[in-house]
Amino acid sequence: MSDEQFISIQNVSKHFGDVHAVDRVSIDIARGEFFSLLGPSGCGKTTLLRMLAGFEFPTAGEIFIDGQAMSTVAPNHRPVNMVFQSYAIFPHLNVSQNIGYSLRKDKLSKADFNSRVGEMLDLIKLSGYEDRASHELSGGERQRVALARALIRRPKVLLLDEPLGALDKQLREQMQLELRSLQRAVGITFVFVTHDQEEALTMSDRIAVMSKGRYLQIDTPTKLYEAPQNREVADFIGTMNFFDASVQDVGDGQASIDAGPLGKLSVSPGNLAFSSGQAALAAIRPEKISISSEKPSGGHVVEGTMDAAAYLGDRSHFYVRVPGVDKPVAVSAQNIDQTHLHGDGNQGQVWLSWSNDAVVLLNKD
C-alpha cells in the first residue's frame, strides 16, 4: 500500500435492480488529499460515498482503505466518519453530547471527556456552546457540530455529502475556506461530494467528474478547467465554446486543424490521440477570447456581429454571431475599457481574437 493508494476503489459497481448507480469505477485517493466527487444529480456520488462508509455494499469490486479490504468490515468498525447532508444532529442530545457521541466506548472520565470535546469546540469556534440543545443552533452551527462530531476520533478518512448545500451563499463561501483550512490543519483525507463545480474547484486537490455512474476525468482543478479530456467535462465545468474541426496533420506535440469559419489553427492535442482526417472539436473558453470594435493587428481574428451583451459589474458577457457557426460565441471580458461595446443595443461589428494555446482539441464523441 502506497500513500497514493490510501483509498483504493477497484472496479466497484452498485446496482439497485436495473439502475446502475455506480458502474465499474476505479479511483485511487492519496493520503491527506482533499478529493471531490463532482457531477450532476443522480450520477451516483452519494452511492459511492455510502459504499466507502459501509452503508451500501458494492455489487462488484472491492474498496481498500489504508491497505485493508472493506468488504468484511461493518460500518461501525470502519476507520471513516461521515458528515451527513442533513447533518443528522441527534435532537435529544446537547452540543457536547453530540460531539462526544463516539467517545462513549472509551469510558473517559468526565474531565477527559470535557477536554476532548472542548478541543473540538475550539477547532470549530463554538466554545461556550456545550449545553446548547440542537434546536437552538443555526444551520452553519449545526454543520460545524456535525463536522466536530465526525472528527473527534481522528478517522483516517472523512466523508462529506454536500455538507454546504443547505447554507446560504455567503456562509457557504466562508465555510468552504474554513473547511479547507481545517482539512490542512488536521491532515485527514477528505472525500467531498458536491454538484457545485465552483465549490469543487475552490476546495479540492483533485476532482473526479462523474456522470451516469461512471467517472469522466480525475484531475486537479486547473487541469480539469484548462485541459478537459472530453466534451462532457468541458461543458460541465465552466462555459466552453465548441467548433467543429477536422484534423489535417498530427506532428510532434502539435496538430494542425481546420476549424472552418475560424480558419486553420495549430494546437496541442494534450494526451489525446488523433489521426489525420479525423473529425474533432476545437474548444475555447469565453475568457480566452478578446473582443474589440476595431480589427486587431496580429493573431487569429474572426469578424462577427454582437448578438447580446450582459453587464455584470466586474466583467461583461458578450454573445457574438460568427458567420458559419450555429451558436453565438460566448465571450467574457473584464470591464477595463469595454463600455463602448455596450452602446444602446449595439448591433455593430466586432472582432474576436485568441492565441493558439487557448484552443483545446477534443474528440468528437
Binding site: 452503508f55 461521515m82 441527534f90 435532537p91 457521541y101 462513549r104
Partner: protein
C-alpha cells in the same frame, strides 16, 4: 356590514351595531377568544358530557346513602370510610399494581411489533397495521371469553398439556387470579399501544441511525442511545392509553380474575349496582382518579429527570 347600515339604518340601531361591532372587534383582536369560538361545539359537548357528570360525581361523593334515600347534607364520611377500612386502599393499590403490570407487559409486547412494521416492512405498511387491529374487530367480551377458554380448567392450555402427558391433572393456578387478568388485559389493549409507538418510530430520521452506526455504535447500543429515547413520546402515550382505562376495568377481573383478581372497578360497579350506594361509589371513583393522576404526574416527572440525565 357597512352596506347594511347604509341601506337599512332603522333595523340596525347604532346602539346594537355598537355591540355587534365591539364583539366582532374583540374576536378579531383576541387570539384566545377566536380559539374558543372555534372550539365552541366541542367545548359544549365536553361540558355537557364530561365536566357535568364529573361535577355530579364530585357532589355525590359528599352525600351519604341512608338505606333507600340519599342524605343530602355535606359530609366527608365516604372519604373517612375509605381510609378507615384498609380493604379499599388495598384494592386500589392492587388495581394500580395490576394495571401497572398490564401497562409494562403491553408496551413490551407492542414495541417489537411496532418496531418491525416501522423498520422492517417496506411495502404495504398500512395493510400490516390493519392486520394487527383485526383481533380488535370482535367485541371486548368475546376476547375475554376467548382467554377464559384458553386458560380455563378444561381449557386449551390444560387439555393440550394433558394430551402431551406433561401434566396429569389440569393446572388450576392459571385462571382466576391476577396473572390471568394481566394476560387478558395486555392482549385486549395491545393495539392501542402499537399505534402510538409505531408513529413515534416511523418519525425517526433514518440518517440519525446511520450517523450513530458511523460513530461506532453496535445495533444494540444504537437502539438504547438513539431509537429508544426518540420513541419515548410514543411509549409514554401508549403507557397512558393502557394504564388509565385498565385501572378501573371491572369486566376482565370479574370474568377471569377470581377472588384474588378483584379490582377497585368491581367495587365501584357494585356500589352503583347491587350494593346501591352511589355516594360511596362516587367517592371511590374520585379517589381512584386522584390516585391515577398522581401516578401519572410522578411517572412524567421521573421520565423528565431521566431524560435530562441521558
Amino acid at each position: 356590514m357597512t352596506d347594511r347600515v347604509v341601506s337599512a339604518p332603522d333595523v340596525v340601531t347604532p346602539a346594537r351595531l355598537g355591540v355587534v361591532a365591539k364583539y366582532r372587534r374583540a374576536i378579531m383582536r383576541s387570539e384566545a377568544l377566536r380559539g374558543y369560538n372555534l372550539l365552541s361545539p366541542t367545548l359544549l359537548f365536553m361540558i355537557l358530557f364530561l365536566a357535568l357528570p364529573l361535577g355530579l360525581l364530585l357532589v355525590f361523593s359528599f352525600w351519604t346513602q341512608n338505606y333507600l334515600d340519599i342524605d343530602y347534607s355535606f359530609t366527608l364520611a365516604n372519604y373517612t370510610k375509605f381510609f378507615d377500612r384498609p380493604v379499599f386502599s388495598y384494592l386500589l393499590g392492587k388495581s394500580i399494581l395490576i394495571s401497572g403490570s398490564v401497562t409494562i407487559a403491553t408496551v413490551i409486547l407492542a414495541y417489537p411489533m411496532a418496531y418491525y412494521i416501522a423498520f422492517r416492512v417496506h411495502k404495504h405498511k398500512l395493510v400490516w397495521l390493519i392486520l394487527i387491529t383485526v383481533p380488535f374487530w370482535t367485541s371486548y367480551l368475546l376476547r375475554v371469553f376467548a382467554w377464559k377458554v384458553i386458560l380455563g380448567y378444561n381449557g386449551v392450555i390444560n387439555s393440550g398439556l394433558m394430551e402431551l402427558g406433561l401434566i396429569s391433572e389440569p393446572l388450576e393456578f392459571i385462571l382466576y387470579n391476577p396473572f390471568a387478568v394481566v394476560i387478558t388485559l395486555a392482549h385486549a389493549w395491545a393495539a392501542f399501544a402499537i399505534l402510538p409507538i409505531y408513529v413515534s418510530l416511523e418519525k425517526i430520521d433514518r440518517s440519525l441511525l446511520e450517523a450513530a452506526t458511523d460513530l461506532g455504535d453496535t445495533p444494540i447500543m444504537r437502539f438504547f442511545r438513539i431509537t429508544l429515547p426518540l420513541s419515548m413520546p410514543g411509549v409514554i402515550a401508549a403507557a397512558m392509553l393502557v394504564f388509565i382505562p385498565t385501572v378501573g376495568d371491572f369486566v376482565t377481573p370479574k370474568m377471569v380474575g377470581g377472588t384474588d383478581g378483584v379490582m377497585i372497578g368491581n367495587v365501584i360497579q357494585s356500589m352503583f349496582g347491587t350494593s346501591h350506594n352511589w355516594p360511596f361509589g362516587a367517592s371511590l371513583s374520585i379517589i381512584s382518579m386522584t390516585a391515577i393522576t398522581i401516578m401519572i404526574v410522578v411517572f412524567l416527572w421521573i421520565n423528565r429527570i431521566m431524560r435530562r440525565r441521558a
